[in-house]
Amino acid sequence: MILLKTMTPRAFLAFGILAIFLNFGCVKKEGGSLSSSANVPTGNEIWVGEYGSMTGSESTFGVSTHKGILMALDEVNKAGGINGKKIQLKSYDDQGQAAEAVTIITKLITQDKVSLILGEVASSRSIAAGTVAQQYKIPMVSPSSTNPKVTQVGDYIFRVCFIDPFQGSVMAKFAINNLKLKKAAIFRDIKADYSVGLANFFVDEYKKMGGEIVADVSYSGGDMDFKSQLTSIKGKNPDVLFIPGYYTEVGLVARQARELGLKAVLLGGDGWDSEKLTEIGGDAVVGGYFSNHYSHEDKSPVVQNFVAQFKARYGEVPSGLAAQGYDAAMVAVDAMKRATEMSPKAFREALAQTKNFQGVTGMITINEERNAVKPAVVLKVVGPQKFSYITTINP
């Protein structure tokens, strides 16, 4: 305690007086420190913030999304901006860390004074940062966080992708309307929210459309052997087998199902979307169908136009994340154009009223839960690391 011993009690008295002085010295600011009145765009610029994982293990997610957003905002600015105001983008890297995301969203809002925030792919970071955006009442649009909890954070949080469980109903519709198969078995990962949500929505929709669920069994993510469950499924002789899991287990399940002689058509969700799927599943997964957000093979002119422009700018085929980043920015721009005044609150109101907005990933309508209602695409596994576009299913 040498430091403290050298100080006389008088010094501490001074400390105390200083402390009291500080307490009284600060007058409460009007409206409290949490008001967003400072984030109203002034002058000829509107500042938009973006946060994402530009470095770290998930850097491909952040970089793809960033490219899409950048391209969208450049297009808007070239076309004259929003009522003559140019959009300026401020983007920060969160290294794929929730703590970083929280810090930089605070920076975006309180220091850079952005009026709207675009960001983050991963649902966990969207939830963490969304709490801050909600607290300061700055609208946030997530391009591709699919976990239902993201928009439940508050009324300023939006997304332009569908939520996980919606894919379940998409695949049910696809099985009945396109494949005309009416006997389904479900094989769900009981430990994953994602899988359970998809399975429940599939069952509901499938039954509603006159299909029959002949078996509903489960596994736990990380399992390697599925033969006992698959044998019981085989006994029920289903036409389709819905496996809403991630590619590792799906590949193994598919292999073992074929070994047992199960002939059902395999269906799944975007958890299948990986090059590893065919690596693990081999020929067994070929012929299976899964839902996804977007396909660059989609023949619609909107998609083809986007793909051509993206290729011209970056020299690569846009991934789904880039398309969704583009759409998130465009939906935000559309809302700003429709807003009654230039303020985060008005932007929020306008975002909530987004209806039938033609995005690259389909017609986007924001529902009262601030989730996007939009079509999903169905892809077919045709060979090693090759998925081909089959159709688009509307909600």
């Binding site: 305690m1 703590a99 939830i127």
Partner: protein, 314 residues
């Protein structure tokens, strides 16, 4: 003397309390958050310094204990939903202390078998334990699993964090000046010599480890209630490395050095944001230069007041 100490305590608390109000009204919330992050960094660095710097044991599992504290305290305030008391400042404080105790227990359980090892082997074992702890959280569904735990009451402010910085500093300083501290230091200097002087080496190693884990748990609890969101990703191996960097930068074995290390490692990445993507290239570069210029860390083995006193007397 007693009255004097109480006066000091009250003075510090009043000062922090006043500063807290002053900062909240007059400082940009982002800057305030960075300042608070520095505080958490200081606690982490000081606690790890006790093991890595003072006891001379190389631990790489500090993030794991931070995780235990964070998850334990967040479970009490958020998941269990015991009573509204745990939503108040005091309740959260209690939860954070409980988190620290849980981390100390984890530290004891981990330390008991692994502190028989030395050097690289100990580093690998602690690294392994840190990862095991993290993967446990990843697989416990009731605390959110990979999705993380959200909705934690955001009660950590400048006052609470820096109060804990002061508590950690004083507690560790007193510990190091006590017979325990001397014994811990002797273990670092020469285990055989220490043992021949009748010091129970493994006991003092474990004491250091448990105290260090306790404060790491406190840092974790404060972190959880600052972010109001935690996920297993927040306590990856990188976080342990960060803590080690703080200690090494500040000077192994120097408590005040650890404080500087904590500030530098928490502050630099924020200051370097102007460089955007190159930030994480420049940051390590600065660390390398710092290590080349000051291989023993900023302060070496010494405390800052020792350096100043020497200068004054010479």
């Amino acid at each position: 003397m007693k009255i004097f100490q109480v006066a000091i305590l009250l003075g510090v608390v009043a000062l922090l309390w006043g500063l807290n109000f002053f900062f909240e009204e007059n400082i940009n919330p982002y800057i305030l958050r960075v300042i608070i992050n520095c505080g958490i960094g200081m606690i982490l660095a000081m606690s790890l310094n006790l093991v890595n710097g003072c006891a001379g044991q190389f631990s790489l599992g500090h993030a794991g204990f931070m995780g235990v504290g964070a998850y334990m305290s967040a479970t009490i305030t958020t998941v269990l939903n015991l009573s509204p008391f745990f939503q108040t400042d005091l309740g959260v404080g209690c939860a954070i202390v409980t988190g620290g105790i849980a981390a100390a227990i984890a530290g004891y359980l981990v330390g008991l078998p692994s502190l028989r090892l030395k050097g690289d082997y100990l580093a690998i074992v602690t690294l392994g334990f840190g990862e095991i702890i993290r993967i446990c959280f990843l697989n416990i569904e009731s605390v959110g699993g990979a999705r993380g735990l959200s909705g934690i009451p955001p009660k950590s402010n400048f006052f609470w964090v820096y109060l804990w910085v002061v508590i950690t500093f004083v507690a560790l300083l007193r510990l190091l000046r006590s017979s325990y501290g001397r014994a811990i230091l002797s273990v670092r200097e020469n285990e055989i010599a220490a043992e021949s002087m009748g010091i129970d080496i493994s006991r003092y190693k474990i004491v250091a480890f448990v105290v260090s884990s306790f404060f790491a748990g406190i840092a974790g609890g404060l972190f959880a209630h600052l972010q109001s969101f935690i996920d297993p990703n927040s306590f990856v191996f990188n976080k342990s490395i960060e803590a080690v960097i703080m200690v090494v930068i500040g000077g192994m074995g120097s408590l005040s050095g650890a404080i500087f290390g904590g500030i530098i490692v928490s502050l630099l990445p924020e200051l370097l944001r102007v460089f955007e993507q190159y930030r994480m290239v420049i940051f390590p570069l600065i660390l390398i230069i710092l290590m080349l210029v000051r291989p023993m860390g900023l302060l070496g083995h010494k405390e800052i007041w020792e350096i100043f006193r020497k200068k004054a007397s010479s």
